[in-house]
Amino acid sequence: MKAIEAKNITHHYGKITAVDDLSFTVGEGELFGFIGPDGAGKTTLFRIAATLIIPSGGRMTLFGLNVVSGFRELRNHIGYMPGRFSLYQDLTVEENLRFYATIFGTTIKENYYLIEPIYRQIEPFKKRRAGQLSGGMKQKLALSCALIHKPRVLILDEPTTGVDAVSRTEFWEMLEGLKEEGITIIVSTPYMDEALRCDRIALMQQGRLMGIDTPAAIRSAYGRKLWSVSHPERYRLLLALRKMPQVAASEPFGDSVHMTLHEGAIPEDVRRMLDEAGIHDAAINEATPGIEDVFLELMKKEVRRSEV
């Protein structure tokens, strides 16, 4: 049985279509990522999966249970972490955890093994009110509370937004640990680097899915060779590249500029033309496409298609 099956899921808010005809499946025990910019519809999709809103169209099942008709049973098996911290700020760490354990009819002790690697880090502060925790600690507490009833599926809506880099890395390590416990995880993130840690990712844009595959497959599906051009004067470089007829696309990427060339053009042509433009000694190397590159390309295709 698939952990999550979605068929033609659509959701409108008035005239706005937040989620547009999405179909996908997530296997049991999979760590599945939804990547997309703000407003792509990730939160709406997750709220549908968490039985919080009824989709305008289509159907979604979690472990064979429909999110609309079977919501009551499903809620025993879902761990949901909304994008915004939603625990009781005026209760302590321990009180929050105990509260969620008891309303799921369990105890902290019973499932302690599951949350231990996470909870251990905030346990020294268990008498502290949740509102006084740092961002990273809040996130760990929220994950602990979402896990305390041993859910079969974890729904994490942008869990690492606004969290420092170290906590983000730690968090993803925890998710990998949970995967080993057999918990299916769907997670959304605006950070491309986090996508690499997922088993599979879905790229989302304006409510639609632009592709679903493993991170490696998505990167290799990148049609053309990708070149990285670097020069201290990056802005001039970018402007020069964008004027060249041979260059199909150029996007700033970290310290360098990523570009693709039209059919038949070679990097030597670019170097020569840069010299002519007064940009000397630019380094041009072949680059491995990242998720960003794929994403930006897909986004452009999408825009072009909608313009036609």
């Binding site: 039985t51 919080l52 809620r75 949901y80 939603s86 009781y88 209760l91 008891t102 009819g105």
Partner: protein, 388 residues
Amino acid sequence: MRKLIFLLRKEFRQIRRNPFMIRAIIGVPILQMLILVPAVTFEVKRIDLAVIDSDRSQASRELVSKLTGSSFFVVTAIPGSIREAESMLFSGDADMALVIPSDFSEGLSGVTRPRLQVLVDAVNATSAQLSWSYLVSVVRDFNREVVLNKGMVTAASPGGIIASPGGMAMSSGSLPGLSVSPRYWYNPTLNYKYYMLPGVLVILITAIGLMMSGLNLVREKESGTIEQINVTPVMKWELIASKVIPFFIIGLIDLALGLSIGWVAFNIPFEGSLLLFFACAAIFLVAVLGVALFFSTMASTQQQFLFVAFFFVMIFILMSGIFTPTESMPLWAQQFNWVNPVAYLMRINRMVMLKGSGFQDIAADMGMLAMLAVAFLALAIWAYRKRA
């Protein structure tokens, strides 16, 4: 059911931890009782009187001293002309001006019918009427004494004086020989506090029940915690019950606190049954909590809720008959009061506390209140289901 207990435990823990809540629960009854009960009164205790005595006779001085002899009238000015008196009324230096004509004492001996003129500042219609009637009763007494002293016990007493407000002639029309002595029931000393206090108790539990519970629920929405609760197996009724029960209890505690203050500070009489009193308050609280819940389903922020709740609480209270009897309101207002829970409890409280009414006397009001409670709660649950 077990989940409800955990929810309630959480709710009480949060209330206990919120310093504002604790202060409000204890402070609101104390302040409301000690401020509203003595402050809100229609009694007119002091009337600043301007006297123009054109007669300057013994009789006119007697009338004035009879007025100042009552505890209400204080002669604050003796203007030279009516124009001057008018400007005193305008500036607020006097509440009332009494013009004694120059033929006053002559009239008393039966030659003419002297006419007193009274000018009253009637911006506040109620106090103007009260002042007027105080004056009339003093004049009437004076009149009777004059008549009796002269031994004229005939019905058409030529020596009577006529007091006319604002120049409008009005006979003081008391028949000498017949005297009316009123005896006031249920509040023999006409103590306004006794009338207000049962009403202030209603305001108290309305404020506590409606504002606090609604704010509490909206706060969960505002902070997003309700999202997390909604993904758990907690049922809607359990969540609603966990929000209603604490404020139901707090409302009753505050009512007891308010009543105790009434006893200690104002020595308020309590004629009826305490049990009946609290039973009615309990029914009322359910109705008010239903209203609060209904508003909170519509509001997404505490501000929105406060605005809507404040608006309706004002209307409920002002129309409930706390200041003015509902019977003297226009028909549509009386019809509105059919669905105004505050109006029912206002009436019940006064009947039980002051008259000692029993269950049978208030059964109809209690029944209506119970129906409203069921209706409001059902409406709130229906609205809540629809939204979530």
